[in-house]
Structures are given as C-alpha cells and as structure tokens.
Symmetry: C2
Subunit: 394 residues, 2 copies
C-alpha cells in the first residue's frame, strides 16, 4: 500500500485571501452599487513593456519556421539570457558566471523546488511576518520551522544572535509584506552568522528593482562571504510585470559547498533530471528586460508604482501613523491606528470607505495589529483611497 | 551545519549522450568532411503549426495592453486550456472534470515534482529499458527502486505477477525507448494489480498522439478502475512540437485516495504553494493545439514523422531484423544484428555508414543488444540512412 506524504496533514489551511474575498462579497451584497478600492492586490496592473513584447513576437516567429525553430534548450537556462543576467550583476559589482545562473519559471517555483537539495532534518528559520509559502513548502518536507518574529522595535529587520539556531534561513529583502530593506551592514551580520554555523540563506530578491536608495544591497552577493552561504532567488514578476508571463532566476555559486557536496552541481543534476527548462519564447522575452531600452522601460513602470507609494506614505506621514516600506519596496506596512487588530482595521476600512488592504496577521502572528497596502493598483484607486483614509482617520 | 540531501551521492552519472557526442567528435576529427546522419535525436525538427503560432502572437498582444493583460493565473492551470483538455478526453470516452487537469511546463517537470506526494519509504517499480529520469528522481528522494526487465519474450510489454512488489509503478506507453504499446487488456492487468495492492501508477502518455491503431488506449483512464490508482502525465512536446516551448498536463482524479488523503487535493496544495502556474502566453498557444484546425495541423506533422518510421521499419522487415515500435510510436527499437552489443553496433554504424542512433543499454541493462532509432529527424537523413543500413546489413 502506497503511503502518501503524511507531512501534508500538518499544513494549516490559509484563509487569508478567501476571507478577504468573502468579506467583500458580503459587503457588496448589502451595498450593491458600491465601488471597492483595491489596495490589497499583490499583482501588477501595467502591461509588459514594448521591448519585451517585440522580443516575444520575434521569438514566436522563430518557432514558426524550421530554420530558426528551437527544440529542447539547456535545462538550466538559455545562455543568451544567463549572460544578460551576469552583466546585470556585473553593473552592481557582483561577479558570477553564466553557469551559476539558473533560469526558472519564477521565484515561487524555485523557492519550493530548491528544498530538494537539503536533508529533511535541517531546520528552517522564517523571519515573520512572511510570505506563507516559505513555511508551507518546508512543512511538506517534514522540516522543523523556527519562527523569528520581527516588529517595530527592530523596524521589522531582526538580526541574528547566539540564541538563533537554523540550517536554512529565509531572508526576503525588500520584504513582502513589510517593505523593510536590510542595509549592507545588517545583511553582513546574517552572512557571517550563516558562514559561522554552516547555514544556508535563501535570499528572496523578488523586489530588488524597487530599491532607489543607492546604498542598499539589491543582491546578497554584494556582501562579502555570501557566495559560500547563500542562494539568491529572483523574479521578473514585479520587476517587469511577468506575474502571468512567468520568469525568474536562481543564483548558486560554485563556492557553495556543504559536507563536500557542491550545491551548485546538485542543482544542475536536479534540473537536468526534473525539468526540460523554461520556454524559449519566454526566455527571449526576459532577455529584452536586460537591454538598455528594456531597463529604461521597466523603470518607467516601477516609477508609476512608486507614485502610488508616495501618495500613500504622504498620507500616513500627515496622519502620524507608523509605517515602513514604500520607498524601496512596492508595499507600505502600517501600524493599525487606535489599537485596532488587523481584521478590525480591515472591516473598518471596508465598511466606512470601501478601501481593501491586507491584514498583517495573515503573514504570521507577529503581524497582528499591522496592515499591508500594495502600490500595484491604479493611480485613481490609490488617490481616492488616500483621500478617504485621510478623511476617516484625521 | 546544514546537511545536504545525501541521496544525491547515490546517483550514477549518465554518460549516454556524452559518450555519443564524444564518439561523433572523434570520428569527425579523423574524417573531417564526413556527413553524419542523425537518427539518435529525441527532439522534434518541425516548427510549431500555424494555428499555435497565431494563438501565441495573439496572447503576446494581450500582454501588451492594460485591458487584456493577464497577471497571475490559477496555479493549477487556466480554465480555457483545462476545458479544452477535458473535451479532448471526452472524444475518447473518458470523463474527467476541468479541476482534475493540472497544466504543467511539460511531462518531465511533473514526473519529478509529483514524487513530493509520496512517502520516501514507498518503493518505485521501473519497467526497463526506461527513460533514465524515472530512476534518478526517485534516488534523489531516497526511494528504493525495483527494476522490472522486459525483453523480446514479452515484446517489451511485461505484465504484473504476484512476485512484483511496488508502491509506485511507472508505465510509459507508447514506450520510450522501445515504441511498444500496451493494449487495453494488458493495461487492465496493471490497473487491477495496482488497485489490489494500493499502488499508484504513474502513466507517462507523452507519445499518445502517435497511436494509429484505434484499439490501443491513448490514456490509462480508458481502462476501468484507473481513476482510483493512476496519475497520467502528458506533454505537448512530441504531440505538437513543444519541446522548446514547454507545455504539458497531469490528470489526477478526485477518486485517487490513499490512507484517507486525496492525492488530488494534495497536488492542488502543492501547486498553490510551489508554483504560480504556467505562462499565459504558452497556455494560449497550447489551447490552439486542441482546436479542430490545430488537431488537423499537428496530425500533418505526426504523419511526416510516421513516414520516417515507415522507411525504417520497411528496411528492417526486408533485412529480417527483429524490431518493435514505429507504427504507434516515434521510436523504432531493433535487436542488434550479428549478436552485436549496443555499443558495438553504434560504432559499426558510425564507422561504416556514419549513421547515429542510440545504444539500447543506455536505457537500462536489459537494453543491451538493442538499439533505438528516432523518427524525428529529416526525411532526407532517414531515407539515406535506410539505404545505407540496407546495403551494409544485406
């Protein structure tokens, strides 16, 4: 009799987004003609930029005739895209080689799959509040989770100390949901900690393109010593609007070794066994993001989302509400006013001004009393929401 | 100290394709102006059909403007594609619902990932000769492999008996590398065996579109009882030339339950945790395969490969060489003439007539003395190879 993976029994159902949609539904049933202002959304709203669109069309044309048709590509990624990413890192002073860049269908895909490289006995440290998949993917593998809470006292950027024990360490910076970003000195403490303890950092850099402060690190490999202790997982989802187009990349240095085993070589073996790589068409589209014109165009889009962030942070500044994020990240994370819980504040905004955000407690218990606003919505919704929030909370 | 997944140490390096390329290289170094006839290739050579190309262009256009732009899609698949696949199965009398169809980036991707649903203590039965990834993906998970050899005595279609013990059973039909296809009665024996023992069959249907004999099953779900014991994994790679475009699907019935756990629900949970789904653009391209015109066009391509198969099988018929496959599969599997081993025959063909195929022993020990020819090459290469083989072996 086949035994299923019993670890799945330990997964908790997440009702966060389900509950949000149910509450909106109930509100609309009672107030049928209301307009809802959606600032909860974690998805982009702007289309792909022209440079990417043109490249995608060209790639489709390549697939239409025998002379330019592409069958199987290298499982770890097409060299034309790997080389573009090498250059993208070079501009920031980070030297990696093309075979250390693994092309994926997106960060979320590799965040789960990469766990195959580690023994089930390893413990995983999750800094909360956090993206729920970090926890769930490790529960599926039967791994013990260590929760490290963050809060206002450390600006949601906790640092390691000797009480912390973990083999795998998840760091998301710029952070979802808090928008907080580690600086180089802070990240260096985590790198040193990992090297000292033989831990591996899974660095989720999905929001790096939103950093505007030149002193903040986009990549963990900007920190000395990171190559021997970190795997960086990145995505074009938020950088270039690829949430529905799907593309990402994972960097594993040849220097990353544990117990004489090269994690780089293990991942090559994993990929060549468990995938036939990412679509030629999509990789071609992705390569266009890293051209000069592509970079210019995606930066225009990011600027647009940044306008939304400014509208929101100005409002919270005026209201004297504590927040982090917004400046170097697409999320603004606020402390709920008047001592409200996350869900109380959610209901209050929905019922009073029809603004929808995301309750912070949905990202972990220490998110209770906080609330996430996304900047990926339309400028109209953001402007109107900000006005209404200001009126309501003044 | 993080412990890596030590099971990777048990993986054997596969030198099959590396050795082939080294031998060709050495030959060309000595005979610089030789033309090599490549019948070893497992990749398609015809471009995507017009219907698919048009749909891909349309989807790219959708991503270029805000009104039609698609962000995140459902992780398990876009309903427009799931519904097309439901109808494709319906035409063959198989009833499944759209939420039992999971869209993937290809069969190879899901053949590895699906193992996450099973306990490491389960044993995996691999019918050999076989696609090497079946074995490697299970070794990575620390699973015990049971090898079931096949041979001429059972036409490379072994059947279960009471000595067979396995929790997971891999069946690839039409088979890679042998091209052998189980009929309904034979497949029923495997389904009954699995239901009796609580095993689960992983049915690799990647070559189903090559079946031309109306009595042979394209899907394991054509067999009564399969829904309670089988997972079907399929691909558009060979069906519609998607080897470099990447798209596949996996069928898990809601009726598939072990120890009170629904494998269907577990897979939903796995996908929603470990992926954000397959590219909108590629799913749109895939949907075009299942239109009336799309089916007509891909059948034209398959007919082309079938011509190659006929050229080869006619030659082996004339020469009195034992073979299987070719008729309902894109591979022709022959017994090496004159008692040669697989590699001896490889060298003989390369040195004498510059024809390259794949040594059968590369797919498992019981493949020794056999040889695989692919029909995915050009008709010119196939015709010329057949002529040369006939001259050489007459």
């Amino acid at each position: 009799m086949l035994k299923p993976n019993m670890n799945y029994k330990n997964l908790k159902d997440s009702y966060l987004f389900y509950n949000i949609s149910q509450k909106i539904k109930a509100y609309l049933a009672e107030h049928p003609n209301s307009r809802i202002y959606r600032l909860g959304i974690g998805d982009v709203s702007l289309p792909l930029c022209t440079e990417v669109i043109n490249s995608l069309h060209e790639a489709v044309n390549d697939q239409s005739v025998k002379e330019t048709f592409h069958g199987y590509l290298p499982e770890c990624g097409a060299p034309f895209l790997q080389e573009k990413i090498v250059k993208y890192y070079e501009e920031r002073g980070v030297k990696i080689s093309a075979d250390e860049v693994f092309i994926s269908s997106g960060a979320s895909d590799n965040l789960g799959d990469i766990l195959d490289l580690f023994d089930a006995s390893s413990t995983a440290l999750v800094i909360e509040p956090a993206y729920p998949a970090y926890v769930d993917a490790n529960i599926m593998a039967g791994r013990e989770i260590v929760h490290l809470n963050s809060g206002i006292e450390n600006n949601f950027l906790p640092l390691p100390d000797d009480t912390v024990k973990a083999d795998l360490i998840y760091i998301c910076s710029p952070n979802n949901p808090t928008g907080a970003v580690y600086n180089k000195e802070q990240l260096k403490l985590w790198v040193d900690f990992a090297n000292k303890n033989g831990s591996i950092i899974i660095f989720d850099a999905a929001y790096e393109a939103f950093i505007e402060d030149d002193n903040l690190p986009h990549s963990i490999f900007e920190i000395e010593g990171a190559k021997t202790c970190a795997i960086e997982i990145c995505s074009l989802s938020k950088t270039a609007g690829f949430t529905g187009t799907r593309l990402g990349y994972t960097i594993i240095s040849r220097e990353l070794v544990r117990e004489d085993m090269s994690l780089h070589d293990m991942w090559v073996r994993n990929r060549t066994t468990k995938t036939n790589g990412v679509s030629y068409i999509i990789q071609k589209g992705g390569a266009a993001v890293f051209t000069e014109e592509g970079q210019k165009q995606i930066k225009e889009n990011i600027k647009f989302y940044k306008e939304n962030a400014k509208i929101l942070t100005k409002t919270f500044d005026k209201l004297g509400i504590w927040y982090c994020g917004g400046k170097n990240a697409p999320y603004v994370w606020i402390k709920c006013p008047k001592g409200m819980t996350s869900w109380e504040f959610f209901d209050y905004l929905l019922n009073e001004i029809q603004v929808v955000g995301t309750p912070g407690v949905g990202f972990g218990e220490c998110g209770e009393g906080y609330f996430r606003f996304s900047t990926f919505g339309s400028i109209e919704d953001t402007l109107e929401s900000a006005k209404k929030i200001e009126e309501l909370l003044s």
